[in-house]
């Protein structure tokens, strides 16, 4: 399969993840959509790295995984703190900064 196929699949998954971030109001689902976007970027890295016969893109994927793991811990901690404060994970309830 040529590289274009992989890149288009990565692009579609990235767009779906972005759609999820924009349209959902559930904090947990938004977090999962973010993970989708991370993974689409990873697939792009691996595909281009494979096409160019390099390894650097694959190394970068490992670092993206590290960042995603750290982000998961922090984001879910925020979700729990938010739930404890408001009794829900609806992001529309987070309006204290609104004038």
């Amino acid at each position: 399969m040529s590289i274009n196929g992989y890149l288009i699949v990565a692009g579609i998954i990235f767009c779906i993840g972005m759609l999820g971030v924009l349209m959902r109001k559930n904090l947990i689902v938004i977090f999962m959509s973010l993970e989708l976007m991370f993974n689409a970027a990873n697939l792009g890295f691996v595909a281009v790295s494979n096409y160019l016969n390099l390894i650097d893109g694959d190394i970068f994927v490992i670092f993206v995984m590290v960042v995603a793991a750290a982000e998961a811990a922090i984001a879910l901690g925020i979700a729990v703190a938010f739930y404890r404060e408001k009794g829900t994970v609806d992001i529309d309830k987070a309006q204290e900064l609104k004038l």
Partner: protein, 167 residues
Amino acid sequence: MEALFYVFSIIAVFSALMVISMKNPLTSALYLVLCFFALAGFYVLLDMQFLAAMQILVYAGAIMVLVVLIIMLLNLSKIKKIKMDLHQVFIAMVIFIILLVEITIYILNGSLKKPTGIYTHALINKIGNTQILGEFLFTKYIFPFEVASVFLLVAIIGAYLFAKKKY
């Protein structure tokens, strides 16, 4: 190979759509695991079996277990009642379609430069992808590797602070 690529892409795109459209976050989480498995299949097709294993262990294993655990801690029947705003969905759809068309046009019309590296399919399979990744990680990318460990420590402290009752 060709057939496997289409199978994996259909699974990945379908499960990604399911992740964002399901009402129950637990269903979304399970579809996300399916999507991660399909992406691991892509990595195997691209000669990176080690990354496929990492994808399944770290993402489908560790991160998704964390997500499911948090969903368990929250009140599921209350979460399921969160409604989507139709106006917001419409705007999101418009942005989605514009971005999708844009990305597709750029990918189909763009041109990549010729391959420059030496790590071809044959060489990676001869040495072994895990050994190559390890050599790169501990020689050329040793500084980012060490920074990543400090970064994980910061994340541990941050998660502890957020989970505490009073800040």
